[in-house]
């Protein structure tokens, strides 16, 4: 029998799973909360601002992952509200459907390289300084704290973080993806593991990498302003130079 309030249910779960530690869930689950969140979606503002950390993102993904909302009903609502202005919103929903279809086709293979990597990759385990949010890179440590404390990370931050781990730290994408999967409220092997493969280049035609200018622009500089490594930032370079440093050649940024 489940307790009648969220606080009491959270306590029930702590009692049933004494080996699980960490923060309590701050996001409200359930169909009512999901419908309220869907009602707040502004597809036009989403299209314009979604790449910014302060943008009008929807935070619907934990509901999609657990079937609390369907992709189709979200698309229908978005189009009803904004017509063709919902194009980007529906486009991004389609990514989830695409990943899921790849999963249905490939099954457990999505946990291995689906294609040959287009750049050299590493197989290092997840480093402790990353896991403990102690890299001294304010951005990456901030993204880890978001993940561990709330189970939610902005999509752009997920891409930056994955790129940092896979291409700068040469961590095995699979090791990183497995850890990430468990911490996310919306952890889904298709969306999560295939996105890591997309960044790594084992399910895309090129690796995903970024520079400081890009991160600073979409975070409104909030991390760089207080970063202990701001003067020795590993991302502070033009793309060709960064590519040469990471992959030993310049072929994707030309």
């Amino acid at each position: 029998m489940l307790a009648p309030t969220r606080a009491a249910r959270n306590a029930q779960v702590r009692e049933l799973f004494p080996n699980l530690s960490g923060a309590d869930c701050v996001m409200e689950g359930g169909r009512s909360a999901a419908l309220r969140a869907l009602g707040r979606v502004d597809p036009v503002a989403y299209a314009r601002t979604r790449n910014h950390l302060d943008g009008k993102v929807t935070r619907l993904s934990p509901y999609f992952r657990h079937g609390v909302l369907t992709l189709a009903e979200a698309a229908e609502q978005g189009i009803k509200r904004s017509g063709f202005g919902a194009y980007k919103f529906v486009f991004e929903l389609a990514w989830r459907d695409f990943w899921r279809r790849v999963w249905a086709r490939d099954g457990k293979k999505i946990e291995q390289d689906l294609e040959r990597a287009k750049v050299p990759l590493g197989d290092a385990p997840l480093p402790d300084d990353v896991k403990n949010a102690n890299t001294e890179l304010a951005c990456m440590d901030g993204f880890v704290r978001d993940l561990v404390d709330t189970g939610y990370v902005h999509n752009h931050a997920r891409m930056w973080f994955a790129s940092y781990l896979v291409h700068h730290r040469k961590v095995s994408w699979k090791a990183a993806a497995d850890w990430y999967y468990g911490e996310l409220l919306d952890g889904d092997r298709a969306s999560n593991h295939l996105s890591w493969q997309w960044v790594a280049s084992t399910f895309s035609s090129k690796p995903y990498f970024f520079n400081r200018e890009n991160l600073e622009r979409y975070t409104e500089g909030r991390y760089c302003a207080q970063c202990p490594r701001a003067r020795a930032c590993p991302f502070d370079a033009p793309y060709p130079a960064l590519e040469k440093k990471l992959f030993g050649k310049e072929s994707f940024s030309r």
Partner: protein, 140 residues
């Protein structure tokens, strides 16, 4: 006895499988071994339980799925289809007959999956008019 096994991708009573099998006992199992294999955090399990609290008449058990099936005398399981191999392996471990019911679809698609761009080009007309899509293309 047949049960409706509610798994972690179907936490919504509005899904068709709930209406189609309204007479079956609804069962959700918090299986510590499954949670450990998934590597879920505390907050993830709490979120799932929060979702469950809004599904009427679902019986939530803590323990192994196979043992819960034994206790209930469940010989057959009905549940929603999924490509999720963790769920499929977990259910298969019960050695029960499993009836998979279709999950809601986002689009109809039977083409060859390659890159997202090709997939999207093929399915976008199910959501938007060809003229809107052509006009977008011409602006690029």
């Amino acid at each position: 006895m047949k049960i409706l096994l509610v798994h972690d991708e179907m936490l919504n009573e509005a899904l068709p499988v709930f209406a189609a099998y309204r007479d079956l006992t609804r069962v959700f199992v918090l299986d510590p071994a499954y949670v450990a294999r998934e590597g879920w955090s505390l907050k993830r399990v709490q979120f799932i339980v929060d979702c469950l609290s809004e599904i009427p008449d679902v019986r939530v058990f803590h323990g192994s799925l196979a043992a819960v099936c034994d206790d209930l005398g469940a010989s057959d399981i009905v549940t929603q289809e999924t490509p999720n191999h963790a769920i499929r392996d977990w259910l298969a471990s019960t050695k029960r007959a499993i009836q998979w019911e279709a999950e809601p679809q986002f689009v109809e698609f039977s083409g060859k999956l390659s890159r997202f761009t090709a997939y999207w080009k093929s399915v976008a007309p199910q959501w938007f008019s060809e003229s809107d899509l052509r006009s977008l293309e011409s602006r690029r």
